[in-house]
């Protein structure tokens, strides 16, 4: 047996650190040493590399699909770069037609389908974050789930949701958003096919929504629809 010297002590200590057995104080002290001690870092890396083989027996389990959207939202909750161009698009010349297609059905909460599994998501955010809405779309259920995370309609006004299909310049109304922050919207099948690669936007409208079939007020937030 070799006598226990500093190196042996560090070998065990690095192993304890890798196993996460050190208490908070000892762990912090060890991490402070790690910063300027490459040899100690190598000891930890060796342990990590060996111990990770023990995880071979851990069976992979698919996480729920909604978690990916949640992570994207956490990380990328900044205004999408396309906001400015969408704003120009909506405020530009393309407001003419787009009548008649819009059908909004707000489902009462008791009818929300279980196991909502979105395949697309969009983050609609104002440039100053004064309005942030997360939309997720489950094609199987034909449901667009709206989660208004920040902001609300201006006094005496409403928020109206629009879809601009990929390659189209014409916004199609998905209806006026209700007062509650979370809403499920049943999308007509004809629109469902247009949502992938499209853009969702929210405009400021008079009560009852735009009467022209196109946005009439400010475009408050917009974001591209991305697949999850």
């Amino acid at each position: 047996m070799t006598p226990v010297d500093d190196h042996d002590d560090d070998v065990a200590l690095a192993g304890e650190y890798a196993l996460h057995l050190l208490d908070a104080q000892a762990r912090q002290a060890f991490e402070d040493r790690l910063k300027d001690d490459p040899a100690l870092r190598r000891l930890v890396a060796d342990w990590d590399q060996h111990f990770v083989s023990l995880a071979d027996e851990i069976v992979p389990v698919a996480p729920p699909p909604a978690l990916k959207a949640r992570i994207h939202k956490t990380l990328f909750a900044t205004p999408a770069k396309t906001t400015a161009s969408v704003w120009r698009l909506l405020m530009g010349a393309g407001f003419a037609a787009a009548l008649g297609l819009a059908v909004l059905v707000v489902l009462p909460p008791t009818e929300l389908p279980d196991g909502f599994t979105p395949a697309f998501t969009a983050e609609l955010a104002a440039e100053d974050q004064s309005l942030v809405v997360l939309a997720s779309y489950a094609p199987d259920a034909g449901i667009l789930r709206i989660d208004r995370q920040a902001g609300s309609a201006r006094p005496g006004r409403v928020l109206e949701l629009w879809l601009i299909a990929d390659g189209s310049s014409v916004p199609v109304s998905l209806g006026v958003l209700p007062d509650q922050t979370a809403t499920d919207i049943a999308l007509p099948p004809a629109l469902a096919d247009s949502i992938a690669g499209g853009t969702l936007a929210i405009s400021d409208e008079p009560p009852g929504g735009s009467t022209t079939g196109a946005p009439t007020g400010d475009v408050l937030a917009a974001g591209p629809v991305v697949s999850i």
Partner: protein, 180 residues
């Protein structure tokens, strides 16, 4: 089939802020990492939170991955496991009583679970076999279940300091075996 090189490349691209690569990395690795979170936390909601923390950390740290010398899955699993154990420790703070310790003991790893480890035995498994069975179990319990010294001592019915000594000696022996 996603190879080690694929995962390495994805991490490198994520390090450059590539969201599509982040999405691919998630698709390729989230099931294994979620399995790790579930194993440690044994609770779906907490495991989901831990996995979210892990991928946020991966997004933030991917840029410095190349410098750390870890193989890609080792880096991902180690990072995820550490976050899951942090969550486990927070949950258990001040709440360890005898009943709970006994429950934990009942939920310990079974020999069958350890045996699933696959036909291709790793070096660490070979070296753990050279330890007394209960000491090897303690090391496995610490790694795979995230057990603390307190829990290990309770499970093996030895005083805390004895467990500490056991484990440190076991680690020294393991290192000697792994370096052969």
């Amino acid at each position: 089939m996603t190879t080690r090189q694929d995962v390495e490349k994805m991490i490198a691209q994520v390090g450059l802020g590539d969201r599509a690569a982040f999405s691919s990395l998630y698709d390729a690795t989230s099931a294994k990492l979620f399995g790790v979170c579930l194993r440690i936390l044994n609770d779906r909601a907490e495991a989901e939170d831990a996995l979210q923390d892990a991928f946020v950390r991966i997004w933030q740290k991917a840029g410095s991955y190349a410098a750390n010398g870890y193989s890609p899955m080792t880096w991902l699993i180690t990072l995820t496991r550490n976050l899951a154990i942090d969550k486990l420790r927070t949950r258990k703070e001040g709440s360890v009583d005898i009943d709970e310790v006994h429950d934990l003991s009942d939920a310990g790893p079974t020999p069958e679970a350890a045996a699933v480890a696959s036909s291709e035995r790793s070096q660490i498994d070979g070296c753990l076999d050279e330890l007394d069975a209960d000491r090897a179990d303690a090391v496995r319990g610490a790694y795979l279940e995230g057990h603390s010294y307190n829990e290990l001592a309770a499970r093996h019915d030895v005083p805390l300091n004895t467990m500490r000594t056991w484990l440190r000696r076991s680690l020294a022996k393991l290192k000697e075996c792994l370096s052969r």
